[in-house]
């Protein structure tokens, strides 16, 4: 240990590593001494919000993660559920928002790379990717550019590595102009015997670093005047890493070959805070310590300091703990894939992270302090003072700027409701030969070779309702995800979530977090869905302008038989169209309101969990019993847009009645409220005439309201007395929604 | 590290599409430049730059080896042309 006693860091130095003075003093008090710059850097990284979750942890404890099918809950690289027959499903969603705003292609790409590693670090082969992305309005060229580059980045990584991108959600709103969102979800499969934990054990066991060389990527603000960090005169600190999906493919194959091998003790991917967090977390979980010699780490650049080696976030690296004596067997696996594997250290009995540089010991930190020594934060929270005035108005009383027909076509032709083919044709959604239902539907369905059952998955984000009422808006997102699985005949197994917020040091944002997490916890519990993994992204804020609360819900379910499902498009003229769930008339928080009125006002739609559960069960039974010709979740754009989507997908028109008769007197916006309102818990289905009695029986059995609306056929789409548009006009509007904006340059 | 009579060289190779091959990327770049206010740009062709840090004894030998590398791997003779510059570098 160096004999020089380090001075206390200056405020600027603390700011660089995002530690408060109080945190610094707590660390030194717990340690009984000051920290040298390397130790301080490592502590700062581990105590950062991203690694420690110090602000979110107190809230996330509310989330229930137990269930009969849960194998591993939050706290691991990814959540794991049991599919039966010794097959496990492993999945998680994670954000990569800030890097994507800086360099959209590589930011998005490395986000995909990171989530893939989280899944194969468990020993699971990734079988699907989904992405939830948000940008500002596309009439601005910067937003078009960012959106196009993020899609390019997702495709670049996913296509090269050979994992299909089967679903996602894309949404445009000026609230995301400064802070785009890129949340990537990955689903993988593992035989039970393949499952690996990120745990170190067995003092004396070697620690290996495999994959890419370590460079200076991703180290932020690592400067201390008192210590020279860099041998070269110029400090090079690239903020964004460049992904190498080819290397990760090789890494994936090598790691999967290794999982289940007796030589492997533990496996962890190298992500945020690099080697520091991988080693610290693995050791802490195992109740042991790890000693690393930075001189043994393969580097991509010359003159890297121990600080840079320990904090580098170079991509495509994994840390392994191997049974002593078995290093060669492990080496051979990595050699075959042309990947180098360095023994960089060993497991030790003392529960500390000890860093050597050759013969010199340069840092030592007890793991109890490094990993758990931070204090949880409870910043003040305050309900926005203007909230009541925003909830009070009734959007139905506002005059509508456009006729019902024009509103309908505008919605269909808007990027949030229109066809998304421009996006998903850039993603390989079929590699693996298991995609039964890919992008463009309500949920994706994957078959599992050798089995009858299959996986269903969706990712759904909260929309404008969450800006008005974060608790309810988040719960509504959970309900939507459940409905999206129901229409493909799937029962939800478990949930992953990515919670995106602004700056929690603003008391209103802290309130939003409390409300949203509470809403998620309540809804997941009420729906009986365990929360097995997740991620929080805070500080999505630019100069005081933060994003609205944006929780994303990733839901994975199981279908008993992949051979049976119904798509969302109408199938035959003469089929009868029904609405399952409540008829409604409201506009608060709707997409129509966003387009027509700009701001979100009013009270968001109610959530009736009991009714949602019954309706979802009925829809599942109907789909599985092959009763339905089509089934579509009623979401953004309400009944009118949902109906038009089913018509366009099927190439068939429809003639339906309004589900409600107008009251007398009717509010100004009543017709628009019926057409475009986003009342929750609704499905639009169609059945052949000979299936009507089965439909009625199933719905009655579940106590679910079913309302006949009309019939499939013709060349127009009409909702009796309210609006009528041509099928061709609707299809053109929808297919042009993204294409027209994106291909004009 | 170069030793004895071996020197360090830098070969800078430029690989371009043959003139007869259509280059949509070049077209898009031209359009983008026009949109940014550079109407004076006519045709644009987009190629590849490859820098090789190598060692060798005598320049003509090194030149001939680099030429071979280009022909065998760095360019596809069906669709691409190449040229390169070679210079001595500090060890």
């Amino acid at each position: 240990m160096t004999q020089v006693v380090p001075e206390a860091p200056t405020p600027a130095e603390l700011r660089e590593i995002a530690l408060t003075r109080a945190e610094y003093e707590s660390a030194t008090a717990q340690l009984g001494r000051t920290l040298n710059p390397l130790e301080l850097g490592m502590l700062g990284a581990m105590w950062s919000e991203h690694c420690s979750y110090k602000t979110s942890k107190p809230l996330l404890r509310q989330l229930q993660s137990t269930g009969a099918r849960v194998v591993l809950g939050p706290g691991e690289n990814a959540g794991v559920v049991d599919l039966g027959g010794d097959l496990l499903c492993c999945f998680k969603i994670e954000s990569h928002n800030h890097p994507s705003a800086i360099e959209p292609v590589q930011g998005a790409a490395t986000g995909v790379g990171g989530i893939l590693r989280d899944v194969f670090a468990m020993g699971a082969r990734p079988v699907a990717l989904l992405d939830a992305i948000r940008f500002g309005d596309l009439d601005q060229s910067l937003q078009r550019h960012r959106f196009a580059r993020v899609v390019e980045g997702i495709g670049f990584y996913g296509n090269c590595i050979g994992v299909p991108t089967v679903g996602g959600e894309t949404y445009f709103d000026s609230a995301y102009s400064e802070n785009c969102l890129v949340n990537a979800m990955c689903v993988g499969l593992a035989e039970r015997s393949q499952l690996v934990r990120a745990v170190a054990s067995g003092p004396g066991n070697p620690v290996m670093l495999v994959g890419a060389d370590t460079g200076r990527d991703g180290i932020h603000g690592a400067t201390f005047a008192s210590v020279q960090l860099d041998d070269s005169a110029e400090e090079r600190r690239p903020a964004v890493q460049v992904g190498n999906p080819y290397l990760e493919k090789c890494l994936l194959e090598a790691c999967l070959q290794l999982c289940g091998h007796p030589a492997l003790v533990g496996l962890q991917d190298c992500g945020a805070a690099g080697l520091t967090s991988s080693c610290a977390e693995m050791a802490h979980r195992g109740g042991v310590g790890i000693e690393i010699d930075v001189a043994r780490v393969s580097r991509r650049e010359r003159g890297m300091s121990p600080y840079q080696v320990m904090l580098s976030e170079s991509q495509e690296r994994m840390v392994l703990v191997v049974e002593r004596g078995q290093e060669d067997a492990v080496r051979r696996i990595f050699d075959r894939w042309d990947l180098h594997s360095d023994i960089i250290g060993r497991v030790i009995a003392e529960p500390e992270l000890r860093i050597l540089d050759g013969l010199e010991q340069v840092a030592t930190l007890p793991l109890g302090i490094l990993v758990d020594g931070f204090a949880e934060r409870r910043p003040p929270s305050r309900r926005p003072s203007d909230l009541d005035s925003r909830l009070a108005p009734d959007p139905l009383s506002s005059p509508a700027p456009w006729s019902p027909e024009e509103s309908w076509l505008r919605l269909l032709g808007s990027p949030n409701c229109g066809e998304t083919r421009w996006i998903f044709r850039q993603y390989d959604h079929q590699v693996g030969d298991d995609t039964v239902r890919g992008p463009g539907g309500d949920a994706a369905v994957l078959r599992i070779k050798g089995r009858r059952d299959g996986l269903a998955m969706t990712v759904d984000g909260a929309h404008r309702s969450a800006a008005l009422d974060p608790r309810r808006g988040t719960a509504l997102a959970v309900a939507e995800a459940v409905r999206n699985l129901a229409v493909v005949g799937a029962e939800p197994l478990a949930l992953t979530n990515c919670l995106n917020f602004g700056d929690p040091d603003q008391s209103e944002v802290m309130w939003q977090m409390e409300e949203a997490v509470g809403g998620l916890a309540d809804a997941a519990l009420a729906f009986g869905i365990p929360v097995v993994s997740g991620n929080v992204s805070l500080y999505n804020d630019f100069q005081g302008n933060g994003i609205p609360p944006t929780p994303m819900v990733g839901l994975v379910g199981q279908v008993p038989s992949v051979a049976v499902s119904a798509g969302l498009g109408f199938r035959a003229a003469g089929d009868l169209i029904y609405l399952i769930g409540p008829a409604g008339v409201e506009l608060a928080g709707s997409e129509y309101q966003r387009l027509a009125q700009g701001t979100a006002t009013g009270t968001p739609p109610r959530l009736d969990v009991a009714a949602e559960l019954a309706a979802a069960a009925a829809i599942r039974d109907l789909v599985r019993g092959s009763v339905l010709s089509s089934a579509h979740d009623c979401a953004l754009g309400g009944l009118a847009v949902t109906l038009a989507e089913s018509c366009i997908a099927g190439g068939l028109g429809a003639i339906v009645e309004s589900p409600l008769a107008p009251p007398s007197p009717a509010p100004t916006g009543w017709a628009w409220g019926v057409l475009f309102g986003e009342t929750s818990g609704r499905y639009l289905i169609s059945v052949a005439p000979d299936q009507i009695s089965r439909l009625a029986a199933v719905c009655q059995g579940h106590g679910v309201p079913v309302l006949k609306l009309g019939v499939v056929g013709g060349s127009s789409i009409s909702i009796g007395g309210l609006a009528e548009i041509g099928l061709v006009a609707a299809a053109q509007a929808s297919s042009g929604a993204l294409v027209n904006l994106m291909e004009r340059g | 590290m170069p030793t004895d009579n071996r020197h360090r060289y830098i070969a800078e190779v430029v690989v371009t599409l043959k003139p007869v091959v259509n280059d949509p990327q070049g077209l898009v770049v031209t359009q983008a430049l026009h949109a940014l206010g550079y109407p004076e740009v006519g045709a644009t062709r987009v190629g590849k730059f490859i820098s090789l840090d190598l060692e060798g004894a005598e320049e003509s030998q090194v030149r001939s080896r680099v030429d071979e590398m280009c022909r065998r791997l760095l360019r596809n003779g069906v669709i691409e042309d190449y040229r390169f510059q070679l210079r001595r570098a500090e060890p």
Binding site: C160, H429, G432, D433, V436, K449 | N22, N76
Partner: protein, 234 residues
């Protein structure tokens, strides 16, 4: 003895298992061939599957073509053995000179994953022997560099010798620019070598072998090989 397909695996290949699955649906058996080995393990038909061999770095297939396995594949082809190159496999065959021409970046500059129709142009090859000229097959593409290019002399020769195997077309076989997803010259989706034992194609027939996944039009290519070899007393 079952007809054996040897499926090459380069670092970065990812559709070897998809091809294995298609082969088994067609009644054949498959074995994987590692790029660094020269052993074809007695394969009747070698398949170079889709993927991003060596990341497609430098050019798609540029590095893979130098793999030791490719020496064995070239010899197998010279001796009349069957070779099927799919997507990245087609790119590797062109880089290796086993097929003429080259694959360039899609003219729209975007990666495209979508269904296409392919018109069968010749059946004088075991891969297409089960089909009829003019039949259309619905088979998906999934590539960023699928634009086929060859110089005018080569193109003329391909056409004159009926070595264009498959062309991008409309659902009824109509040829038009709007059915050409990537700008390939002459709407070429797949070609044959002079001996007609090597077929390279950009679309993925292994993804079109089951109605559950959308189309089973691709199965005929694998089944054609199996039945052809069985009939030949293999």
């Amino acid at each position: 003895m079952a007809v054996r397909f040897g499926i090459a695996v380069f670092p970065g290949t990812w559709s070897e298992r998809d091809c294995s699955h298609a082969v088994s649906l067609a009644g054949g058996e498959s074995t994987l061939l590692w790029h660094a080995d020269r052993d074809l393990k007695g394969s009747d038909c070698v398949v170079l599957p889709g993927g991003f061999a060596h990341g497609d770095y430098l050019r798609a297939g540029a590095i893979a073509r130098f793999a030791p396995l490719m020496d064995a594949v070239a010899e197998h082809a010279r001796a009349g053995g069957l070779v099927l190159g799919i997507c990245n496999g087609f790119q590797i065959l062109c880089e290796a000179g086993l097929l003429p021409g080259a694959l360039l970046r899609n003219r729209g500059l975007q990666f495209l994953c979508q269904p296409t129709w392919l018109r069968v142009e010749t059946v004088s090859t075991p891969f297409l022997a089960e089909l009829e000229i003019g039949t259309t097959l619905e088979i998906p593409i999934s590539h960023g560099e699928g634009r086929y290019y060859a110089d005018p002399t080569t193109l003329a020769q391909l056409e004159a010798e009926s070595r264009v195997a498959l062309r991008y077309s409309g659902p009824s076989g109509e040829l038009a620019d709007r059915y050409n997803p990537n700008g390939s010259l002459h709407q070429i989706a797949g070609i044959l070598n002079e001996q007609r034992n090597v077929l390279g194609m950009m679309p993925h027939p292994e993804r079109a072998c089951e109605p559950l996944l959308g189309s089973e039009d691709g199965l005929a290519l694998f089944a054609g090989v199996v039945r052809g070899l069985v009939a030949a007393g293999r």
